[in-house]
Symmetry: C2
Subunit: 163 residues, 2 copies
């Protein structure tokens, strides 16, 4: 029972690592050249601060996720992992929200501010950004589940001890 | 000792409630009329989805913060509060990141995408958004401190029990 649970959690962490890593890679490799009024323009992630933040945050969380995978199950560091999970889940949430906000403007524009949508000019770039956002979103959801599970796991035994 | 600690935590929660509420109100009341090429334009928060999300998220977290203030100290619901704190801190983090990403474009523009900065036209509106973001940021920091403290509080006694 304990072994199955541990295997499940490890699998979830592996999946989370995979999603954040692929999110970072897909976003970092997104670029497309286009001609805009006879001027060659290259759309790439590094032109947008929010997308750069997304790549850096997902890279950091991937590195953390990889390290946690190799933590021995008996280690007392697992107590620290819950606190670190909180910090890194917040970092991930923050990066994906910022990237999503910018991507929304890129797709629909904002007529009040006079910002035109750019996805019509660079559809391939937009699709790749969308893919990266979906991968990042899966990562956030898995980390949130892991975090809520850890909290439930730590608090429930206490409640049972009391009653 | 326990009483001082509880008072401190209550004070922090009160402060967090104040910041999220003022963030929501300051953002919701931000608007400025300006003439842009002989056309009257009104800049307000509801024109930007990310700012609307910011107001809604800060409103929800304020309501939650108010409810928690009236929770009796002996209540077993405090165990649930940790899990809820995780969810609401993530919501707050997400909303402030999205609003910050849009505000950054509003302030500096994005020359690659052809989005011009708008803060030159509506400086009062921009200042008010900046104020709301700072208030929201204070709220996020307090909630993160509370959350990490709760986790430390729950885990440390366990560690002492073991050794």
């Amino acid at each position: 029972m304990v072994k199955t649970k541990r295997l499940c959690l490890l699998l979830l962490r592996l999946l989370a690592f995979g999603s954040t890593l692929s999110a970072a890679i897909v976003m970092a490799t997104s670029h497309e050249k286009t001609n805009f009024f006879a001027v060659s323009v290259e759309a790439k992630y590094s032109n947008t601060p929010a997308f750069k933040y997304f790549v850096i945050a997902n890279g950091i969380v991937s590195a953390y996720g990889l390290l946690v995978l190799f933590l021995p199950p008996e280690s007392l560091l697992w107590r620290l992992v819950i606190a670190l999970d909180v910090v890194f889940t917040m970092l991930l949430t923050s990066s994906i929200s910022a990237a999503l906000a910018i991507a929304q403007v890129g797709k629909n524009g904002n007529s009040y501010a006079g910002w035109l949508p750019i996805c019509g000019q660079v559809p391939k770039y937009c699709d790749q950004v969308k893919g990266a956002l979906i991968a990042g979103f899966i990562g956030v959801i898995i980390y949130t589940v892991l975090l809520l599970y850890s909290i439930h796991d730590v608090l429930d035994p206490l409640l049972m001890q009391k009653t």
